[in-house]
Every structure is written in C-alpha cells, then in structure tokens.
C-alpha cells in the first residue's frame, strides 16, 4: 500500500468536511474492496475517510410499506434480519451469498452499491426491486443510478445515506457464483414489483442491467417456461478466464428461469 492519512469520520458533516480537505481523498465503507485495492497499489488516495464510526448510517427499519436500509449496514445484518426476511426473503438470501462470513461481517450495502462492481450482488437487488438511493443531497432512482462499469450517478464526494425499497409482490435471486471469490459470474434478480415485472442481471455485463425481453415475457405469463429461448446478448457480455461471453449469455437464461421457478 502507498501511504495515506486515515480519518475516522464522526458524522456525515464531518465526513464531508474531511473530503473537502485532502488532495485526493476517498471514502471507505467496510473496506472489503478498497483495502484489497490499496494493497495491490491500484489506488493511491491521499486520505482515507472511514465512515464506520457514523452510527446513524447503519440500521434496518420499516417506514410504512417501505424497507429502509442504512448505507453502512453490514451484509450479515441484512442476511439475518427478521424485518428483511419478512419484507423480501430474496434480499436477505442475496446478502447471505456475498463473500464469506468474515467478509459479510465487514462489507456494507452502501459500499457495494456505490462501488458498482460488475460482479457484485447488491446492484441487482437495488435495480430489480426499483429501490431509491438516498444520498446526503438528493434521491436517485435505481434506474438512473447505475451508469457503467464501476460508475454510478454519484457526484464526487456525494455520500449514500440509505436505500428505500418498495415492497414487491414476490421476488427471487439466483446466482451462479465464482467458486473461489463467490462473486457472481451471473446473478439474476426477478421481482414482481408494484410497477410491473423487473429482471435485473449482474455479473454478466460491464454493468448491472434490466432484461426487457424477459420482463415482457413474464408480464404476459409469470412462469419459467415463458423464458424458454431467452438469454443474454453474447455481444454485450463480459468474457474472461472465468466464463466466455457465450457462456454468460446462456447462464442469464438459466439463472432467470431458476429464479422464477423458485417463486411460482
């Protein structure tokens, strides 16, 4: 790691102030991506501002029919929450599939979503459930949030406060994990939401995306059979040592059918 100055923010305002002072500061949530990145010298921030000490960024609560999860809430807390399980079991299951127990004790939903790793699990739930990302300055709809590989609509220094999830009628997540890292080679989140069917695909392409063809097919007939013949577009898929683009395209269809079959 290159040397940096470590700061522990005590409040959102403190974090904003510290972001304004360094030459090239960066925010740290759970550190499960940032610390390995620093260790590989893939980043050289002047200052690391740890959000871990800001208690009010963490927590799970209902606000009417809306589930609210604080940005610094750990994966383990979501996976084991009775509130989340009652609201949307698929969301708790997804959190329990991330990494391993030690990673789930540290990693946070806000860190995962703000980083927007193409193979991360949470972006598919945020997009698939049509959640709203609440930051220190505004609210951003999930459909406008994920803009590209490791890119989001967040401005420099903008801090995610919480996620607001509208209640789905039913939802499921099916994931084909990399057996070593547990990142998604392909993960598909299917939800019957208040505004219709949403199918969000992660792992497959440079950025999480909605599969319009599958959504249309499921709107007419919510069954795994309705997805026969549908898959990803191999021309838009990632290809690497773990899986070819053609294989990922195929897996998109398989994971989507498995997700639907698990909830009908």
């Amino acid at each position: 790691m290159y040397e940096f100055t470590y700061h522990r923010a005590t409040s959102l305002a403190d974090a904003k102030a510290k972001m304004g002072q360094g030459d090239d500061p960066t925010l740290m949530a759970g550190g499960m991506t940032l610390i390995p990145t620093l260790k590989q010298r893939l980043a050289m921030p002047s200052d690391v501002i740890d959000l871990g000490g800001i208690a009010d960024l963490s927590g799970i609560r209902m606000d009417g029919d809306t589930l609210v999860i604080g940005a610094m809430t750990k994966h383990h807390s979501v996976a084991s929450s009775d509130v989340v399980k009652a609201f949307c079991p698929a969301l708790a299951e997804l959190a329990g599939l991330i990494g391993d127990p030690m990673v789930r004790n540290r990693g946070t939903i806000g860190g995962s979503v703000a980083n927007n790793d193409p193979a991360a699990d949470y972006p598919s739930a945020v997009l698939g459930l049509g959640a709203t990302v609440v930051t220190d300055t505004r609210e951003i709809a999930a459909d406008a949030f994920f803009t590209g590989m490791f890119e989001t609509a967040l401005e420099e220094g903008e801090i995610v406060r919480e996620f607001r999830f509208p209640k789905p009628k039913r939802a499921a997540y099916s994931k084909f994990p990399n057996p070593a890292s547990r990142y998604a080679i392909v993960g598909v989140f299917v939800a019957e939401a208040a505004d219709g069917i949403r199918v969000a695909v992660t792992g497959a392409a440079p950025c999480v995306f909605r599969h319009g063809g599958m959504e249309a097919a499921l709107a007419g007939n919510f069954s795994a059979g309705a997805l026969d013949g549908l898959k990803g577009d191999a021309g838009a898929m990632n290809s690497d040592i773990h899986a070819s683009a053609e294989y990922r395209a195929h897996l998109v269809g398989v994971m989507a059918r498995r997700a639907v079959a698990s909830i009908v």
Binding site: P101, M102, R106
Partner: protein, 157 residues
C-alpha cells in the same frame, strides 16, 4: 505517526502505526502475537481471522487504526493457562490439522460460529468455512473438530 489503542486478549495495548498498517501487522510485528497468520494477504484464506468486538474478521483486510477502542481476540487469548479452550481441545482430539498453518484462523472462525450457533450441522460448518482455506486436510477433520468444539462450548458432550 498516529497512535492507536485497543484491548487485545483482555489487555490494553497501544502503539504508533502508519495509516496503511494492517491490524495483522500490528498484532504480529508490534505486539509479537504471531499466532495470527498471513496466508494469502488477499482476503481469501482466513488464516488471519481474529475477533473484533466479538465478530470474526480478516485482520489482513482491516487497518490497525480502524481498531481504535476495539476489543480484539486472537488465538493466543483462547487457552486458560495450560488448559486448552474447548475448540482447541476439539481440534487436538479430532486431528483437525496437519501442517497447522490455517489452524489459528480455523479455530477463531469455529469459535465465531459456535457463538452464533451452539449445535451447527455438518452442512452449516462447511458453508461457514467458505472463508477459511486448508490445503492439507480436505476439511473432514476440521469440520468434525468444529462440530465437537461447538458442542463442548455450549456444554454438550
């Protein structure tokens, strides 16, 4: 250089560290607690597992300064003098190790599981060990050890 203070195995400790100093470096190089091992240094193998405020974390992916004010437990803190901790004793009885390199992490991970679930099934132990790699044993005796250790910790024989 910034200073950091924490409690390690019940004793208050402090030291001067860089921002980039990892918790595992602080434990091994500053405090001489070399029971916590560095295997992969990439958050995968779990040999560096310690408890921070009761939760298992990988100390190779945790900055020493993040532990300010925290309660840290390492494998050195488990035994009561000459008397092994029930999880350590279970590893001894069940031959839960061969070369021993991964063992400190396996034991700290096993204790963390037992704290959440006093009677884990074989399947639950195997799922739990996703984050702990062993290159010798094929895991069979580690799984047996953790099941026996968890039962012993919760007062079942």
């Amino acid at each position: 250089m910034p200073s950091v203070s924490m409690t390690v195995n019940g004793k208050p400790v402090s030291g001067e560290v860089e921002g980039r100093t990892l918790l595992v470096q602080f434990l091994r190089e500053h405090l001489g607690l070399t029971g916590t091992h560095v295997g992969c240094d990439t958050t995968q193998c779990g040999a560096c597992t310690v408890h921070v405020n009761g939760e298992a974390v990988k100390s190779c992916t945790f900055l020493a300064l993040m532990a300010e004010g925290a309660e840290i437990s390492t494998v050195e803190g488990l035994a009561n003098g000459e008397e092994l901790h029930p999880m350590q004793e279970a590893f001894r009885q069940n031959h839960g190790l061969q070369c021993g390199f991964c063992t400190p992490g396996m034991i700290m991970s096993g204790v963390a599981l037992a704290n959440r679930n006093g009677a884990p099934s074989e399947h639950e132990v195997r799922e739990w060990l996703e984050g702990n790699l062993c290159r010798c044993t094929g895991y069979h005796n580690i799984v047996k050890s953790i099941m026996a250790g968890a039962r012993a910790m919760s007062g079942q024989s």
